[in-house]
């Protein structure tokens, strides 16, 4: 027997309620610019059968993945260093604030102008937008690290790799999880803008094409598919990972 919790029922119920309200509004307005869920779902099916949906979703996912990994790697490394060494922290804090507050659009345009309309420029632009964010979160974690536990590792002569994996990083996991969650949310949004401005495939590019044809139905169909992917990643990747890394807190 699969146990379905009350929360799952509530989640499903709210989704059905949303669709019903949407359908009612669409039927009342009878405006081609506000298609109902029935039309959108049909369009979603058609885009799926045609193959363009999966191709573009795939391309976008790959860009998200690449820039996510790059941003998390550099953001974590810089964050740990800044949290550990107050001197460096003071020195780079200004750059960090600047990075945090530079509009994504500026970074994107500059990357495209300097590196050309290339895949590298696109991914660099997205990563650059996310790195300062990761740095701030991870730096907070690095500052809160318990020196007494690190002393245990030194007292027992643990190998540096082991000290990092079993003593240091576990203290950062909650911060890394927070950075990853907020990072994914930010990167989705920026990747679409980057695609719209300078790529010839991906969800962002497709959306801009639909926009030019005022194809609202396709835009909504893509949006639905996109939302589905995001929810799926949260359910099969982020939540289990969180449980695995931080489960000891709730035993």
């Amino acid at each position: 027997m699969i146990h379905v919790s009350r929360n799952t029922w509530l989640r499903g119920l709210s989704l059905v309620g949303f669709l019903v309200i949407w359908q009612v509004i669409a039927l009342t307005l009878k405006d081609p610019l506000v298609p109902g869920p029935d039309v959108v779902l049909a369009s979603l099916w058609q885009h799926g059968v045609d193959g363009d949906l999966f191709y573009n979703l795939g391309v976008t996912l790959l860009r998200v993945l690449a820039s996510f990994i790059i941003a998390m790697f550099f953001g974590t490394a810089i964050g740990i260093i800044m949290g550990r060494y107050p001197r460096l922290d003071a020195g780079f804090d200004g750059v960090l604030v600047l990075g945090l507050n530079t509009p994504a659009l500026v970074t994107i345009i500059l990357c495209y102008i300097w590196f050309g309309l290339t895949e590298v420029a696109a991914i660099t632009a997205v990563a650059l937008n996310k790195i300062p964010n990761t740095v701030v979160t991870v730096r907070e974690g690095a500052r809160a690290v318990d020196r007494k536990l690190l002393e245990v590792a030194d007292a027992f002569d643990l190998r540096p790799v082991l000290k990092l994996r079993k003593v240091y990083l576990p203290q950062l996991y909650p911060y890394l999880m927070a950075a990853a969650r907020s990072g994914l949310a930010l990167i989705w949004k920026i990747v679409l803008v980057v695609e719209l401005l300078g790529r010839s495939n991906g969800v962002g590019f497709e959306l801009s094409t639909f926009f030019q044809f005022f194809d609202i139905t396709s835009i909504l169909a893509y949006t639905l598919a996109f939302a589905g992917v995001v929810l799926l990643i949260e359910a099969v990747l982020m939540r289990p990972l969180d449980q695995r890394l931080n489960g000891w807190r709730t035993v």
């Binding site: 536990l149 245990v152 643990l158 003593v167 035993v251």
Partner: protein
């Protein structure tokens, strides 16, 4: 077996003008159980950090079997360590906490389980530290310290802030494990009765800057009850002969004496 020679000429901390340690010298024979007793803030933890190589910034030298400690890489000494707090990794199970320090040993799981059995924690291997009581957490820390088969065991007030029966049980387990392996032990405490009940030799330190003011060999066979006649006799004798010398300790100890005599008369 480890023979230890400690010769600290001067130890200061950056930004603090006063010396923490000055002219501190003592030896420990192979397999000897030494208790370091002194008032709070006398720099006892600093001594352990220096001997353990966690802190190398000092004038003087520490010789292990005649070799300076700086050669720790070429003459590896297996250290066991117990801190004032259990200092277990909260994200590791009890067993993994012990296995953590046994990295690379082929029988690490077996060894960890064996030690946990010896401190009577069988059945708690899969628990996380926060699920255990304070006394049980200390027992895990004790198991961890002995799991590495230490040659030199450094203990920094390991049984502080435990209730008396729990602390007594832990001291018993410590002595059983020590008899098996006979590591050289430096046991820091500010509880004179605890020192007198566990050590072969008690070294008394002055207040800051810490130096050795008295050494006392305890020839009473173990096990010694910290409130038994033998320990009480030595304790009383010490307080009468050196009321000034032990001023930093007497307050804490006297409280315990009173408490105990009340219990006895009741």
């Amino acid at each position: 077996m480890i023979e230890l020679k400690v010769r600290i000429r001067r130890k200061t901390f950056p930004g603090k003008p006063a010396d923490v340690l000055a002219g501190l010298a003592f030896d420990a024979g192979a397999g000897e159980f030494i208790a370091l007793v002194g008032p709070s803030g006398a720099g006892k933890t600093t001594i352990l950090n220096l001997v353990g190589g966690l802190d190398r910034d000092m004038e003087g030298e520490i010789l292990i079997n005649g070799q300076p400690l700086t050669d720790r890489q070429t003459h590896p000494v297996r250290y066991g360590y117990m801190f004032q707090e259990p200092r277990l990794m909260p994200w590791l199970t009890v067993e993994d906490n012990v296995r953590l320090v046994l990295d690379g040993m082929h029988d690490s799981t077996e060894r960890a389980r064996q030690l946990l059995r010896e401190v009577e924690l069988e059945g708690n291997e899969r628990s996380f530290p926060r699920q255990l009581s304070g006394g049980m957490q200390r027992r895990v820390a004790l198991a961890r310290a002995f799991a590495v088969r230490p040659m030199l065991l450094l203990m920094d007030e390991p049984f502080i802030s435990l209730d008396a029966p729990t602390a007594a049980r832990l001291r018993e387990q410590l002595l059983i494990l020590w008899e098996e392996l006979r590591p050289t032990v430096l046991f820091v405490t500010h509880d004179l009765r605890e020192a007198l009940s566990v050590a072969d030799r008690v070294i008394f330190l002055s207040g800051s800057p810490a130096r050795v003011v008295k050494e006392l060999r305890i020839d009473v066979p173990r096990p010694r009850d910290p409130y038994g006649k033998a320990v009480t006799d030595i304790h009383t004798g010490l307080l009468q002969a050196h009321p000034d010398l032990l001023s930093g300790l007497a307050n804490g100890s006297r409280g315990e004496v009173n408490e105990h005599s009340e219990r006895r008369s009741a």
